[in-house]
């Protein structure tokens, strides 16, 4: 049986490898939701690739909200290497956020039950 510490370390390494791999190898085809949006907007046939230059028209709906994320599309807009760093940071942030909140909630539970 592999010790928990090793399992956790292996999991972190695997997550980082997948995240960095995503920067270099992920498909740039639209995802299922965007593909469906393109189909309903007449820019894509269901079983065919989207028309060249097709873009999801999100401004069609009135009364919606606009927000510009600082690292939209998981990119800094420069080199792939920098984007890989960004992906590592994002992956570790997800890890730390869950770790922190999980630990905090367990500590809260201990203090309440004692």
């Amino acid at each position: 049986m592999i010790p928990t510490r090793v399992l956790i370390a292996a999991g972190i390494v695997l997550a980082l490898v997948i995240g960095i791999g995503a920067v270099f190898f992920a498909s740039s085809d639209p995802d299922g939701l965007d593909s469906t949006a393109l189909v309903t907007q007449g820019q894509k046939e269901l079983t065919q690739p989207a028309n060249p230059g097709a873009a999801v028209d999100g401004a069609a709906l009135p009364g919606t909200f606009e927000y510009s994320a600082p690292f939209a599309e998981y990119t800094l807009g420069g080199s792939k290497l920098a984007d890989a760093g960004l992906m590592v940071a994002g992956t570790l942030l997800a890890l730390v956020a869950v770790l922190g909140i999980g630990r905090g909630l367990k500590a809260l539970n201990r203090s309440r039950s004692s």
Binding site: M1, T4, L7, I8, A10, G11, I12, L14, A15, L16, I18, G19, G21, A22, F25, A26, S27, S28, D29, P30, D31, G32, L33, S35, T36, A37, V39, T40, K44, L46, T47, Q48, P49, G58, A59, L61, G63, T64, F65, S68, A69, F71, E73, M87, G90, T91, L92, L93, A94, L95, V96, A97, V98, L99, I101, G102, R103, K106, L108, N109
Partner: protein, 212 residues
């Protein structure tokens, strides 16, 4: 399957947020009361894995790509649908706020689809199939496929209500694409579950025996 801000009008998006908040509160209570303390690092690693997997779009033919949701995997490994709600909610917050993957107003809908529906379908699908097939891997694969396509169909319905997708083309598009993406989700969920079982059989044994 991350719905952007521009796809749902704010009043409807607010309703999804309210529903999502109820499930987030239940998930936080589950973490505080039910989840054992030694599971915290495992949950955190699964969150890192879900974040990375969701960034990795894999081509699935027909000019479309898809990524894993990971909700079924998290719910199965940790033995509760609320584990998936917890992990997916935090991952979606990071994705939406920093990376523009999914909107802020629509984050509630995304949490409902991927976290709540994905987690509950993944968890109960796995246990239902396990009692029928007795095979962990077939059950995990089947549950993961369902936990991909059912949230996609839910998203199609929400977007029809929003006026973004017409009903039938929306359901057909989301259904067809996510039926394919779900095959990848099923395969990877079964493989990762296999790796975890071979490394630490006790984790899944405890998860399967745990009350919700």
């Amino acid at each position: 399957m991350h719905i952007p801000d521009s796809f749902i009008p704010i009043p409807q998006a607010a309703v999804y947020w309210l529903i999502a908040l109820v499930f987030i509160a239940l998930a936080l209570r589950w973490v505080r009361r039910e989840m054992s303390e030694e599971k915290v690092p495992l949950v955190a690693v699964l969150a890192a894995g879900v974040f990375a997997l969701q960034a990795f779009n894999i081509p699935v033919m027909m000019g479309t790509s898809g990524h894993l949701l990971g909700a079924a995997l998290v719910a199965i490994v940790l033995g509760s649908p609320f584990a998936a709600v917890f992990v997916l909610s935090l991952v979606l917050i990071v994705q939406g706020v920093l990376f523009g993957d999914g909107g802020l107003t629509t984050m509630g809908a995304n949490i409902i689809n991927m976290g709540v529906i994905g987690g509950f379908v993944g968890y109960y699908g796995y246990h239902g199939l396990l009692s029928l097939t007795k095979s962990r891997f077939a059950s995990a694969a089947g549950a993961a496929w369902l936990a991909c396509i059912i949230p996609a169909l839910a998203a199609a319905l929400e977007l029809t209500a929003a006026g973004t997708f017409p009903l039938v083309p929306g359901l057909v598009g989301m259904g067809v694409y996510h039926a394919l993406i779900g095959v990848v989700e099923a395969a990877i969920t079964a493989v990762v579950l296999g790796l975890i079982v071979s490394a630490r059989p006790d984790i899944l044994e405890r998860a399967e025996g745990a009350p919700i």
